[in-house]
Symmetry: D2
Subunit: 116 residues, 4 copies
């Protein structure tokens, strides 16, 4: 079974692209709709945590069933995020590195230790 | 420069984990807060498309500046999604494969061609 | 049956406050949780429209059943928004008037006619 | 200055409708776009609370400046929610009463005291 250790971002993107293509769903997967889909799924992930406090939210996901439910929501978010990258033709790794470099300048590690 | 073709999901996860650790931010990155952060960034991505129609949203991201702005929002979403996977200790590739298998049963390609 | 014509914002706020108080739920209704709840319900409202285009979304809500479903989601959003106003002790009417005055300065009607 | 005590929901709806009409923005205010706008503004409200814990989120809004910022975000959410009600032609008071009656059956006060 492939895991994060031996799977490239491009491989996941191609799997999602194929799933969408086989159903002729590219017509629905434009940037507007995909941004809505990501946000909708993010709402579903939040729903698991909206009435628990921060520390109990860590406990909650130790339960295997709760963790499995949460894994499905995260998978939905990521599936649409990967499809967004496909639709817009952008390299996720490059985008992430560029943003992290920007954040590293905005939040130098020594000044932002333990605080936002 | 590393790209999606030669970068594993695990490599990205480790980079995010290190960025958070260097700032001692694990204390903030619990499932509740991270679900809020993903949803907030998803809202920022949507903001680019909320008044345009579907087809123009495809045009919009062809402009390099608009594409760069959208790439930053997607990077933010993914950074928090990767951090969520780290906090909860779940394998993204496995979660995605499990969800896609479930969706393939729910939406057989021959029955859902071109429709949702 | 009371309608929008004969119901004050304060009356709705008091009804929500009573519903929450009767269940001893004020402990959960802090600004953080309520902001998550509003966003989660907003996600559920979006879910009805994520794959339809703009004009068909107007058609869709003409169907009485679809309209009723959408009315429930809007009610959820508003219930939490009213509870947020209660928790934070802010006057909705004043907040809305202040924001509209600000927006009227930002978007003068003659300059923003038909465009954003 | 009108407040929640002497302002009907219908009065607020009419003010929003007039603001939109004066700018010829009804063309943008369809159910799809408005659901995105509500969710986007809900994301902005959350942004104020994403790294604070629950009890500190109550403290935070006691500061007048923080409260004013949060009031603006809530106003944005409500403005789009009221515009949604206008676009879909639904009575907010009736929708809210119907949903509260349903929730009262789902969560009887004696069984759900202090718990969700």
């Amino acid at each position: 079974m492939p895991t994060d250790e031996d799977t490239t971002v491009a491989a996941l993107r191609r799997e999602i692209a194929q799933f969408i293509r086989e159903r002729d769903w590219e017509q629905f997967h434009d940037p507007k709709n995909l941004s809505m889909a990501i946000a909708t799924e993010a709402g579903e992930l939040m729903e698991h945590f909206r009435w628990v406090k921060n520390d109990p939210s860590r406990e909650q996901v130790r339960d295997p069933q709760a963790k499995a439910a949460v894994a499905e929501e995260l998978a939905d978010i990521l599936a649409f995020a990967l499809s967004f990258a496909n639709a817009v033709n952008l390299d996720i790794t490059s985008a992430l590195h560029a943003k992290m470099a920007k954040n590293a300048r905005k939040y130098p590690a020594d000044q932002y230790k333990g605080r936002y």
